[in-house]
Symmetry: C2
Subunit: 229 residues, 2 copies
Amino acid sequence: MASDHTRSAILAAAERLYADRGFGDVTLRDIVAEANVNLAAVNYHFGSKDELIAELFVTRSIQTNRERLNELRAAEDAGGGRAAIEDIMRALVGPTLRGCLGPDREGSTAARFMIRASIESVPPIRRIKNREVDHLRKFAAAMRRAMPGRDDTELYWGLHFALAMAHHTIREKERLLRLSEGKCDLDDVRAIIDRVVTVSVMALTMGDVPSKPAARPVLVHGRLTRQDL
Amino acid sequence: MASDHTRSAILAAAERLYADRGFGDVTLRDIVAEANVNLAAVNYHFGSKDELIAELFVTRSIQTNRERLNELRAAEDAGGGRAAIEDIMRALVGPTLRGCLGPDREGSTAARFMIRASIESVPPIRRIKNREVDHLRKFAAAMRRAMPGRDDTELYWGLHFALAMAHHTIREKERLLRLSEGKCDLDDVRAIIDRVVTVSVMALTMGDVPSKPAARPVLVHGRLTRQDL
DNA sequence: GATAGTTTCATACAAATGTTTGAAATGCAA
DNA sequence: TTGCATTTCAAACATTTGTATGAAACTATC
């Protein structure tokens, strides 16, 4: 191929427009106008609008997933094959939060695009997200190694809640900012990651949740410390 | 007015179709076909498609919000004006989770509609959701009464995380089910509510727990030495 | 520099969609 | 019944949308 110019211009323009205005009201004509290319170029290079969106999303997803797995492997290597649960959770939520939050990220098109993809759920993206389960299984496996003997159910709930806090923070950062009247600092990504990780680990180490919530997580926590050593 | 027949038929049909197939690919023509009414009836009775969707959503939202506030007030009355933090969080997440989860709810159109509204974020619904902040402030106020002296920031983060876990469980219950290979029981709503409440309270009372999990410099800024009395 | 393959372009297509219209039907009060 | 307001209806409107087409422009190879 001669030069990716047109193709890349479309990708860049599409990502920017989708990030700014959402999938709902950005048409192919908007995109090609922004990219200064012909309308037919989209179908020529990508086949269809949905495939364009899919390519945008997979590119960014692969990026995030790779970072996650890199952090996970680093943590496992450092721990001789078994990473501490804190580090596993950090590898899980860190890349996403770092990618989408923070002051400098305000200008990052990629970040804003991923936030958009998290808020609006458009069919081509949903299809890709469904395949994410395989990726998460690797984290479940690492967690199982880090907390042997613990019921799988608890592992999955902990993983689920960690993602819940991370994604919800990204999705609803505007609302949290408004609710807290700016008191919650959403630019301090480090602190947010720490916070999510801390709560996730607490959730994971609290033991079985019976029908009564008054239960105390304290003694179970002691047991974990022994295991984790 | 003679009889709300047409109007209600449209509302019912719309809610059912949106719940089943999502906002993306349900047209007014689908709705009026399902309701056995004329196409123009929608614009006659509701003004526009968006106003129809908005009416559907506000109806269900008001329902949930009323339940929440009822539970909150009941808890505060029982506690002589100050409710336990557990009960506040329960009032916050209970109604939503009870409304959208559980085995019998599989057939509930209203529940499936609200799940849909939570997954897909369509403009008229987003506009309404933005007004939800005022409603949440009442819970922030109750939490402040329950945990006096605690930094507001911590309150907001706790509130935020509670909603994160509740909504994410609703949004991603399919994925959690698949990830856990059915091991996570999403029909046991009681247990789920307990779980979310427990973790939320833990997140809120982090500073109180003497045996903090990690040696992280983590939530230093949020750990107030001044505890509530 | 001719040729084959690739890319770009203007334009047209076809389908879908929310909305409007004006007349017909219906309900209700006097 | 008559008259008036409300409601229903079929049909059309006016866009907008993604996609397809076929010719033209370009590129690289021989």
